[in-house]
């Protein structure tokens, strides 16, 4: 898999550019390896089946969100409403399953994705037709969607014993030792990754992120693609809501509060530039894995859990700082070779 998608036209310099950019994901893998090694050395429990399973389940939910966020960020937008959309979807599906225990799991997944997709499409339409930055729009819908969930749920909570056992089994069951949740996340990752990398619509999203004006001049339906990208992000947030419900079994109106921060962190740490046009969903998923692993290893190392948030913040700063450094170095090396690329 390619570390980072390259802008079209840079193919002649692929080797050196590719190498530099690849270093970024190599860095995450290296950081992960060191983290796992140190934690395991201090406590062998860390590599136990249960612990790995917990990390994978946590990563699965965060990675599905991060893949959607990456699609939006690649187009030079941002979706802050994902945590709220996850909450609305989880509560919708939870309520439906409580009242209609016969609903199949696939139905629940589809309904969750549909709820999220509608929220995402609304974001997209507001961004597209309102001429307003996505930051503001999704900040607004973060409030609205969460408010709707609270308004609807009131103080009530859906408990595991109210959910059909088939659904809860789905949250715990495995296929060849791999949890279903992880398989779904991998499927989402693979499909989105391949579409972004090898299909026209994927290349168009990168083009929009690199330069919206140039993309428009090149005949890309920027408006429609923007709505589409937000719909995908929303649908995946909705899907993540169902996974959340299946994993935890207990759902209230606050489900997923503050997730947007972790998702943006995973994406940024994974090398998706906030100015759009570069990065990959693979990186975003790796970022999600790193963040989740940090959380578990802090617990195993018996380090104050409160450090986690501080570390997440530090990682974001480190990652965007590294981005700037890499960008500067690439620009310098290209200049030296007399390239027109800047």
């Amino acid at each position: 898999m390619t570390a980072v998608e390259l802008p079209a036209g840079a193919t002649a310099r692929t080797s050196s550019l590719d190498l530099v950019l690849r270093a970024r994901e190599l860095g995450i893998v290296l950081a992960l390896a060191v983290l796992v090694a140190v934690t395991t050395l201090s406590n062998h429990r860390f590599l136990s089946g249960q612990s790995i399973r917990d990390i994978l389940l946590g990563t699965a939910i965060l990675a599905v969100l991060a893949v959607g966020q990456a699609v939006v960020v690649i187009t030079r937008n941002i979706d802050l409403s994902v945590g709220s959309v996850l909450g609305l979807s989880a509560f919708t599906v939870g309520t439906l399953l409580r009242d209609h225990p016969g609903l199949p799991v696939v139905g629940a997944l589809l309904i969750g994705a549909a709820v999220g997709g509608v929220c995402g499409a609304v974001n997209g339409v507001l961004v597209r037709y309102g001429n307003v930055p996505a930051l503001v729009v999704t900040l607004g819908t973060l409030y609205v969607v969460r408010g709707i969930t609270y308004f609807w749920a009131g103080g009530q909570q859906i408990n595991a014993d109210e959910l059909p056992s088939g659904f809860l089994d789905f949250g715990n069951a495995t296929l060849l030792g791999i949890p279903y949740l992880v398989l779904i996340a991998v499927l989402v990752l693979a499909v989105t990754g391949v579409v972004l990398r090898s299909y026209r619509v994927g290349r168009e999203l990168y083009a929009m992120g690199s330069s919206p004006q140039a993309a428009r001049l090149a005949g890309i339906a920027v408006g429609r693609r923007t709505i589409g990208a937000f719909a995908v992000s929303g649908a995946l947030a909705g899907l993540a809501g169902v996974l959340f419900a299946a994993r935890f079994g207990t759902i209230d109106a606050a489900a997923g509060t503050g997730y947007e921060l972790n998702v943006v962190a995973a994406v940024v740490v994974g090398g998706v530039a906030v100015f759009g046009g570069s990065g990959s969903v693979w990186g975003a998923a790796l970022g999600a894995l790193l963040l989740t692993t940090i959380g578990s290893s802090l617990a195993v190392l018996e380090i104050n859990q409160f450090w986690q948030q501080a570390i997440v913040g530090g990682l974001i700063l480190l990652a965007i700082g590294a981005d700037r450094l890499v960008a500067a170095r690439v620009a310098a090396s290209l200049k030296k070779r007399g390239s027109h690329v800047h």
Binding site: V145, F151, V274, A310, I316, I320
Partner: protein
């Protein structure tokens, strides 16, 4: 262009006054002097933090770390109080802390040239995390009564809260700076075009750096006042406040693209947000459901100017079409 902003300011102030009158007429207890006092206390942190935020957004940047700075300031205040430090030492230290936290943001944004949205999302997590590291999830109370009483108390025998003095003084200072000094003109110039501002002799990097420092100091001050008001230092104080502040500032007619905005509108935006929430809360609408109101207000306020412009230009086109060139 000036008249257009004057229009937005007049509109938002008008809407605010209308909301106040309607709420006073229809919501029980809204129009009482006691409720007015509560309203001022409730909007205190948003109003304070919104002042420097206005300047930051006018330059085209953003500071999402303010609520975490408030929380860290509160946590450090509690920690130092637990260490038996005198409150007279703690207060300047917390303001200094705010300045340092703001300078860190400023450094990343102006010296390293990183996007302020990403930087301040990073420091939002970092500062909040540090607040929990400093104080854990406990609370520190028992701050000296003379200070807590002043923050929750009223001026003389009236029902006007003392803290209104702080809001008025700071609002006046920021208003004068933004609208009547070269610094304010530089802020607008940088927001309109950084390059043009640089040619005009402004140093955008230095200006933005100091704006972040000021933003940090005011957030630190808000942390102190928050702690004294509830007599409770907690690491999660003010969590999520950054969104309300940004919403209030944009509601006040400040453009997220930079270069446009005015402080009277922002004050009205803060008052509108706070009084709507207060009125709905008095009407037994749950705190969380109020989020819908905040969100819709935010979206409408940023969409409205664009819609108005679109309508106006289409009307103008229609009017001009029959005229021969």
């Amino acid at each position: 262009m000036f008249t257009k902003f004057a229009n937005w300011n007049v509109a938002i102030i008008g809407v605010t006054i209308a909301v106040l009158i309607i709420a006073a007429a229809t919501v029980d207890n809204f129009g009482t002097a006691q409720n007015f006092g509560f309203l001022i206390l409730d909007l205190l942190p948003i109003a304070l933090v919104a002042l420097p935020m206005t300047l930051v957004i006018v330059t085209g940047e953003i500071d999402l770390s303010v609520a975490s700075t408030l929380g860290l300031s509160s946590a450090v205040m509690g920690y130092l109080w637990n260490q038996n430090q005198p409150i007279e030492t703690i207060i300047p230290l917390c303001l200094l802390l705010g300045a340092v936290l703001g300078a860190v943001n400023g450094f990343f944004v102006t010296v390293l040239g990183l996007p302020s949205l990403a930087v301040t999302i990073g420091t939002l997590a970092l500062y909040r995390g540090l607040a929990f590291v400093v104080l854990g999830d406990g609370a520190v109370a028992d701050f000296p009564a003379q200070y807590t009483d002043w923050v929750t108390g009223n001026i003389g025998g009236t029902s006007i809260p003392n803290v209104l003095i702080v809001i008025v003084i700071l609002a006046a200072v920021f208003g004068v700076i933004l609208h009547a000094t070269p610094v304010g003109r530089a802020v607008f110039a940088v927001g309109a075009s950084e390059q043009a501002a640089r040619f005009a002799g402004v140093r955008p990097g230095r200006l933005k750096f100091w704006l972040y420092v000021v933003s940090g100091v005011v957030a630190g001050l808000a942390g102190l006042l928050w702690t004294l008001r509830y007599s409770s230092a907690r690491a999660d104080n003010g969590a999520g406040l950054e969104l309300a502040v940004v919403a209030a500032v944009l509601l006040g007619g400040v453009s997220i693209f930079g270069g446009k905005g005015a402080l009277p509108g922002v004050i009205a935006g803060v008052l509108l947000l706070a009084s709507l929430q207060n009125a709905l809360r008095l009407s037994d609408v749950s705190n969380e459901a109020l989020n819908v109101v905040t969100g819709v207000l935010l979206i409408v306020s940023v969409l409205a100017p664009n819609l108005a412009t679109a309508v106006r230009s289409s009307l103008q086109r229609r009017r001009h079409r029959p005229e021969p060139l």
